[in-house]
């Protein structure tokens, strides 16, 4: 079931576009913001509200890298794996992160605190290697700084 608040927000998005379906991505963003990820049940509820089949909406949901169709932790770590970061030490950074969190890409820590994902170029190649945690960007990240950075996120 979608909450009243979710429906209000989704309807606002629908009002801005000439075709109801065009707000589908926005609707998925709205529910993901509140639920962290989009379960099959959530997807069906959103699709019903959008007057779409679940299959059609899922074809959209699964296309985009940052719509999560599997559970994620409280915080999502996106490590830039594109060229400038790779040149500047991405692989060592990832090794250190994986050791510290004891997970590999695509996994979530047992306490649901962090999910670790690779991500395309974050657009701060002059601050490589870079990573994002939730909405925060970290540049020129070294393995030594990881403890302090991760400590910010509970």
């Amino acid at each position: 079931m979608l909450t009243a608040d979710e429906i209000t927000e989704i309807d606002k998005a629908i009002s801005l576009v000439p075709v109801r379906k065009a707000a589908g991505i926005e609707a998925l963003k709205i529910v993901q913001q509140r639920r962290r990820w989009i379960s099959d049940e959530t997807l069906r509820d959103v699709a019903t509200h959008m007057h779409m089949s679940a299959e059609e909406l899922d074809s959209v949901a699964t296309f985009y890298n940052l719509l999560f169709r599997r559970p994620v932790g409280r915080h999502v770590i996106l490590v830039c794996d594109s060229i400038s970061c790779w040149v500047m030490g991405y692989e060592n950074l990832v090794k250190a992160l994986q050791q510290k969190l004891n997970i590999t890409f695509g996994e979530t820590t047992k306490d649901s605190r962090f999910t670790l994902l690779p991500n395309c170029c974050l657009g701060c190649c002059d601050g490589a290697p870079a990573l994002m945690i939730d909405n925060d960007l970290y540049k020129n990240v070294t393995a030594d700084q990881l403890g302090e950075i991760l400590g910010i996120y509970e």
Binding site: L16, V17, P18, V19, K21, A22, A23, G24, I25, E26, L28, K29, S59, V60, F63, Y64, N65, L66, L67, L78, D81, S82, I83, S84, W86, V87, M88, E91, N92, V94, K95, Q98, T104, F105, G106, E107, P118, N119, C120, C121, L122, G123, C124, C125, D126, G127, A128, M132, N135, D136, L137
Partner: protein, 431 residues
């Protein structure tokens, strides 16, 4: 040296407020146009300026606009492509974060030039700081009467919305971007019809890059001759160039169009890090051919880079040094392209993962002589004309040039059954 796009950026990089932007001449171009210029007149000034798209393709901006029927009924759309996702590219970010009103003014002028009634900023998800800056600036522009109905009492109406994407390289391709704005998978559309005739929701639409649009207010204010004089070459204007990789001072700088690669690397980026030598660079993002030492004095404009066998692209260099494996470097690029292929057409969907696997094999010491032929074959099969959009041909540019300039490295990997660059640890598998 004039730097119209960036001269007013604050030292701390924080966005200029509406008041601050107006204090340095902001929205005076809009007042000038609303005071009595016609859409055709703006198109004429921009045409004379010879402004070319700064997003990578370098198409003439005014020519693109000219295909929009001015008398078509509403709605028509103007879209700022702020989905900067070309690996190695970080130039639009600076403009988006620091001078959001410059972009908005450029968008209003462009919208007026094609008589659009609605506009969108299509912003990539990762640019959180920019999203906040633009959201705020759009509100300020509405409050000041620069957006909405009857702008500056001219009778011209324009609405503007910020749309943040959900992550896919394909969204940078203009027809895929339109599909994404319509809530669909970001797959490219067949052309014709071109978006200028049938774009967003089937209506005439222009998609322009952020840096392109930011140039418009200055061209309107100071004229096309001034704009041409900014550059050192036939391609007019300034360009925001960038350098990343193992140089002393990676960064981005607005410079006259046509500076050389040597100036960018040695003067602006401070040269290579100590103990490292320059081996090559992608001149304009991941989908451009390598240039090497013999090209250091090539002028970084559209014609100069093309004559050297590559493309200016986004103008942001990614440098390859002599301690970094060229095979691993290209493998990283092809991994990106394979992952970001939308899967719509076969050569791209099937070919790119195959290439990535071959390169991984070579990097792991399992390469065979015939792998080189296979890679060459792919550069032809995935080249221009064989795929639906420019993603796969773009992906072939660094590969074909790496095979040409770094052939000895490929051969050494295959003959020695290992990667000779010990400094680079084995590539981690993506789970």
């Amino acid at each position: 040296m004039e730097k119209p796009l960036t001269e007013h950026i604050r030292p701390d990089g924080k966005p200029l407020s509406l008041k601050e932007y107006e204090a340095v001449g902001g929205y005076s171009a809009l007042r000038k146009v609303m005071g009595g210029m016609t859409p055709r007149e703006i198109q004429g000034v921009v045409k004379d300026s010879n402004l070319r798209g700064r997003g990578g393709a370098g198409f003439l901006t005014a020519l693109k606009w000219s295909f929009v029927p001015l008398d078509a009924p509403k709605p028509k759309y103007l879209i700022a492509n702020a989905d900067e996702m070309e690996p190695g590219t970080f130039k639009d970010r600076i403009l988006l974060e620091s001078t959001p009103h410059q972009l908005i003014e450029g968008m209003i002028l462009a919208a007026f030039a094609i008589q659009a009634s609605e506009s969108f900023v299509f912003l990539r998800w990762a640019y959180k700081v920019a999203a906040h800056a633009i959201e705020k600036a759009i509100h300020e522009a509405y409050d000041a009467g620069y957006l909405g109905s009857n702008i500056l009492k001219s009778g011209f109406d324009l609405d503007m919305h910020l749309h943040t994407g959900v992550g896919r390289y394909m969204c940078g391709e203009e027809t895929a971007l339109l599909n994404s704005l319509e809530g669909k998978r970001a797959t490219p559309r067949a052309k014709p019809p071109f978006p200028q005739i049938s774009g967003l929701f089937g209506r005439p639409t222009i998609v322009n890059n952020v840096e392109t649009l930011c140039n418009i207010p200055h061209i309107v204010n100071k004229g096309s001759d001034w704009f041409k004089r900014l550059s050192r070459t036939e391609d007019s204007g300034t360009k925001i160039y960038g350098v990343s990789g193992k140089v002393k001072r990676p960064g981005a700088w607005e410079l006259p169009m046509g500076v050389t690669m040597r100036e960018l690397i040695e003067e602006y980026a401070g040269g290579m890090q100590d103990g490292l030598r320059f081996r090559g660079a992608l001149p304009g993002g991941a989908s451009t051919d390598f240039l090497v030492e013999e090209h250091l004095d090539v002028r970084m404009d559209y014609a100069g880079v093309a004559a050297a066998g590559s493309r200016l692209g986004t103008g942001t260099l990614v440098v390859l040094d002599d301690h970094t494996c060229p095979v691993g470097f290209v493998k990283n690029l092809e991994h990106f392209f394979a992952q970001e292929s939308c899967g719509f057409c076969t050569p791209c969907r099937e070919g790119l993962p195959w290439i990535e696997k071959i390169l991984q094999g070579i990097e792991d010491g399992k390469g065979r002589e015939k792998d080189i032929d296979l890679l060459h074959m792919h550069t032809r099969y995935l080249g221009p004309g064989n795929t639906f959009c420019a993603l796969a041909p773009g992906a072939m540019e660094p590969l074909q040039s790496a095979l040409k300039y770094f052939k000895a490295d490929f051969d050494q990997h295959i003959h020695e059954h290992r990667c000779p660059y010990h400094a680079i640890p084995a590539t981690l598998e993506h789970a």
